[in-house]
Symmetry: C2
Subunit: 160 residues, 2 copies
DNA sequence: TCCTTATAGTTTGATATCAAACTAATTAGT
DNA sequence: ACTAATTAGTTTGATATCAAACTATAAGGA
């Protein structure tokens, strides 16, 4: 794998610091812009956070606990309570008691939730088309492992 | 070339969609965890957003307008007003009228701001050490170009 | 000059998120 | 079995952010 620009030889402490800031800065901006792009395409009052949960359940199955979801998305339990309340109020999910644990609940997709997810995917079409036109998705494949690694490192070192 | 997993040959529309969701999901989580990690190390009441602005001015010079800063960090003008107010209240920056434009202001670092920046960098030391130990920074170098590209694409297609 | 439009910054109202305190149910240690 | 510790979810209070309306200044065209 060839590379250009910054040499791979050695990075000074200062270079590493600058790199890290750049990395987190870009990540933060991408997150903001990406969220804004998605939000704009979703119906009034619905946020990417809502869509993400529906998407997660459509792809990986429903019947999970709120805690499992807050783990998957790395948000606090309180945030998940809030997000699920929004979905529930709109009838996109159903919250049922968990028979095997009285403290817990299970989250299920409703038909409306599946429909909404499908419609949301459709309405994201133009944004996807734009991305596909401008970005070489094979590069995304190459980049994902580092992102996952970074996420895992950050996740398992929260107490640092 | 392996046959399992995603090959670089061709990606179906569905694979591309899944990739994009994964990408934005990882980015969102990294942003959250990274922000949390940094915030924890900053003094009470100060947020990464404050530090980032100080860092920007230390590295690239002060005397910029709030609008230039909101552009650089891709936040709204209102958000920048709020963030600068926080910095100003703590005496870390000075806001002066812009002699060449009555509508505008200029943002300057104070000595306290420079001191604080230095101290913040120090207090981020352990977090950096952890990252440096766990992450190969050369990989960061390789990943930055795509992140920048993605940021630019998203930035120049806000209206999609 | 006067009027229209554009620009810089502020304000307002809403919301997503976090951290921490709280409640209720389960599990574990003795 | 009983108490202590843990766990799932909710609530509370704070704050960072956004979008949109607003204010004040600047620039341009007739």
């Amino acid at each position: 794998m060839k590379k250009s620009g910054v040499t791979t030889a050695t990075l000074s402490a200062q270079e590493r610091q600058k790199l890290a800031f750049q990395f987190f800065n870009e990540v933060g901006i991408i997150q903001q812009l990406g969220t804004a792009l998605f939000n704009k395409r979703l119906p009034e009052g619905l946020h990417v956070s809502h869509f993400s949960i529906l998407n997660h359940m459509v792809r990986l199955g429903d019947g999970r606990t709120p805690l499992a979801l807050s783990d998957a998305f790395q948000v606090t339990k309180g945030t998940m309570t809030h997000t699920l309340a929004g979905l529930s109020k709109r009838g996109l999910i159903r919250l049922e008691p968990n028979a095997s644990d009285g403290r817990s609940k299970l989250v299920f997709l409703t038909d409306a939730g599946r429909d909404f997810h499908k419609a949301a995917i459709e309405s994201l079409g133009p944004a996807f088309a734009m991305l596909e036109e401008k970005i070489d998705f094979k590069k995304l494949v190459e980049v994902l492992p580092l992102l996952q690694e970074m996420r895992e490192v950050l996740d398992s070192n929260r107490d640092i």
